[in-house]
Amino acid sequence: MTAPRPREKRDPLARKKARHLSPAARSRAMHAMSARAAQGRFVLQICDSCGEATYPPRDVCPSCWGELAWQDCDNGGIVLCETVIRTSTDLYFRDHMPWRMGKVALEVGPVALVHLHHDLSVGQRAEVRLLLDRGGNAAMFAIPPNGDLDMSDPQLREFLVPIEGRTILVSDARSAIGLAMVKALCEAGAGLVVAGLAPPARTADTEQPAFIAPGVQTVPLDITDQKSLSEALSKIAGPLDIVINTARHPRDGGVSLDGNIVEQRHAFDVAAMGLMRLAQGVAPMLAGRPHGAFVDILSIDALVGSSQRAGFAAAESARLSLLQAFRHEMREAGVRVLSIFTGPVEDEHHQSVPPPKVAPARIAAAAIDALQQGREQSCAGEVANDAMTRWLADPALYTRERNL
């Protein structure tokens, strides 16, 4: 007998709580900072000529008028002063009053206004994280040095996506990645994991320990089938907080050579149209949630294609493109959309691919880490990391070398 899952206590007749976004307007330079913060990096602009760090983001160095470039920086600092804001004209912050903020002198030079962790006070050393706020933009959050992101601080929780107690849908739970995801979510304390299993049902499903574990509910789900999706979503009891899209259809083959059109078309149906169908179904469910999130697991081949798996890479590229647009749509609703890039996986689809390959459990851990650390974009495993680094450094070169 397992303890019943704690349910939200809400008066069903009460008017639903409106969700507001933190102030969203930013300069172009600030968007460049947010794009890097989305990768979990702490960056500042450094002058090419004099080497001085600057903040807030500028378009020219205030010391010598040299060109500025974004660089990863040390994020240590000292808290200089603090305040607790108790009134605001902004709807989002009015929902979250009182709000504690302060000022930190960063060791690399500039001073920054920061959200202040409840354990920090003036004079103390702090570590400053760049986290995405509810409006999807980077913000400085000062936490105790070398401290974990502590979910007990309600302000900090606004920047992260907790797993504990949440209802989470895994779109394809039977795959190696999906299975690892279900296990990892249960271990991370998820309230209910809804495991999607593409029909036809298999006897093996009923014997899979992860699917009969407490806190796991299986539903028939094929995201290439609208009817299946609608039925699956209707079977989820209570509000849905997080969706993790693990569905994919990796197949080898080039464009003019070895390309099986039927397989490649199915790859598109799963990766691109499947994502769109799933997104359309879950968007209204996630939009009302305090910490709604959609996590998509996609191939790093989405960046520039691949001569070995051209059709699959193209489908994953289409998926990435749709995901980018979906992220923008969901930003308006305060729902975070996360991309977890992966290289070849240690699974049945990559039997003939030599290592290094990434273990499914590692992908699952990366997804959970990204949610709980507030990252929008992550790479699971060395292959994806290496590819992302090369692509960011020189997209033209990387495109060429991946398609040689």
């Binding site: 600030m30 903040y55 002063c81 305040t83 009134t87 000022k103 920054a112």
Partner: protein
């Protein structure tokens, strides 16, 4: 700086004017500017053609600037300036107009600030103040200037040992001064006890540390002593001025302002010292900025303002009559006009035309401005010493 500034010969500052403030107004900044001109026309006998210079400051006149204003108001000046520096705009307008008149580019300059305060003006003007604010201030709780100055106040108190009661003494004195000013929006006496127990806004800033946004207009005329005489206008001369923007950018927290950069030169040019000042009119968006100006203008050494406040009376009949109309903290902050009321009130006191009680034997006023929070501090500072021409 190699050259010393030339004295302001042949310059007269006169006709201080306040259009009575209202808490909210459904009118526009243009309307308030029109009220100011109409009142100036009555006191100084002006026709539009007499005004050959116009200097304007406003936060709520958009999409117009001074350009749109001259056409709107029917002026044809040969000298025009638009000053977007808020709390420093009165001092800066005076400084610019004085040189224009001295050098003959204009001979009668109307300096004016006008702002309306519609029901949601404050919220709107907050949300589009500056790029740095948008990127690096609003996302952190959206506390507006209250939060920015709460951080400065917090640091000031920690570093210089100033206590809330010290700031309270300034606010209580200014409220007492407002008592005789019929135009002040807040005249009900304030006790130190009430100040101390007021509700917190952004710790350590509490309710009575904050100004009340309102609608209003302020104006004055800069001209030659001859023209002022012909029009029967009592006038003051400019002893010295100072102005500085983005001073001490490397200070991690703003504990001093641009005045401190050249205050000795200022007093030397004025030919007086702080002890000669009969009334001090400083920008008072928050009392910590009043304290900062008292130090940086040379009334006491840096870091010793707490002791200075404790041993000084700031009422109209006190040792250093401060913000004698009540300041923005009691009279109200009418947008950019909040950066003009220090000039008009200083002028009124030394020209012996007070709105309320007269500072006894006032001849010299020190007026100081502080304006525009761009990121974490006010960027613009300025001061002017005025002496009545008798």
């Amino acid at each position: 700086m190699r050259r010393t500034a030339a004295p302001y010969d042949g310059v007269a500052v006169c006709a201080p004017l306040t259009v009575p403030y209202t808490r909210f107004s459904s009118e526009t900044a243009h309307w308030w500017a029109g009220q100011a001109l109409r009142a100036l026309a009555q006191t100084a006998g002006l026709k539009p053609a007499d005004i050959d210079g116009f200097c304007f400051s406003s936060f709520s006149c958009g999409p117009d600037t001074a350009v749109g204003m001259v056409q709107h108001l029917g002026l044809s000046p040969r000298w025009l300036d638009h000053i977007p520096t808020g709390g420093a705009s009165g001092v800066m307008a005076l400084r610019r107009a004085a040189r224009a008149v001295q050098c003959g580019d204009a001979e009668l300059v109307v300096c004016m600030a006008a702002d309306t305060n519609q029901i949601d003006s404050f919220r709107h003007s907050l949300s589009a103040f500056s790029r740095f604010s948008q990127d690096a201030v609003y996302p952190y709780g959206f506390g507006g200037p209250n939060a920015t100055f709460a951080l400065i106040t917090d640091a000031y108190m920690r570093i210089y040992g100033v206590e809330r009661a010290d700031f309270g003494k300034l606010c209580v004195a200014q409220r007492a001064n407002a008592g005789s000013n019929p135009l002040a929006l807040q005249r009900k006496p304030l006790t130190l006890e009430a100040y101390m127990v007021a509700r917190p806004i952004a710790d350590p800033v509490h309710l009575f540390d904050c100004v009340m946004p309102c609608a209003g207009a302020e104006a004055f005329i800069v001209t030659t002593p001859e023209i002022a005489g012909e029009r029967g206008l009592a006038a003051a001369q400019v002893l010295a001025t100072t102005e500085r923007h983005n001073a001490f950018p490397d200070d991690p927290v703003q504990l001093r302002g641009g005045w401190a950069m050249e205050i000795d030169r200022f007093w030397q040019a004025a030919g007086i010292d702080p002890g000669d000042v009969d009334t001090l009119q400083v920008y008072d968006d928050y009392p910590v900025i009043v304290a900062m100006q008292i130090e940086d203008l040379g009334f006491c050494p840096k870091g010793e303002v707490a002791g200075f406040i404790r041993r000084t009376r700031f009422e109209i009949d006190g040792d250093l009559p401060l913000n004698t109309n009540g300041g923005q903290l009691s009279a109200g902050q009418a947008g950019a006009a909040g950066g003009f009321q220090n000039v008009t009130e200083g002028l009124r006191q030394i020209l012996r035309q007070p709105l309320g009680d007269q500072v006894p034997d006032a001849d010299i006023a020190l007026v100081s401005g502080f304006g525009l929070v761009n990121y974490d501090r006010g960027v613009c500072t300025g001061a002017v010493a005025l002496k009545a021409l008798r």
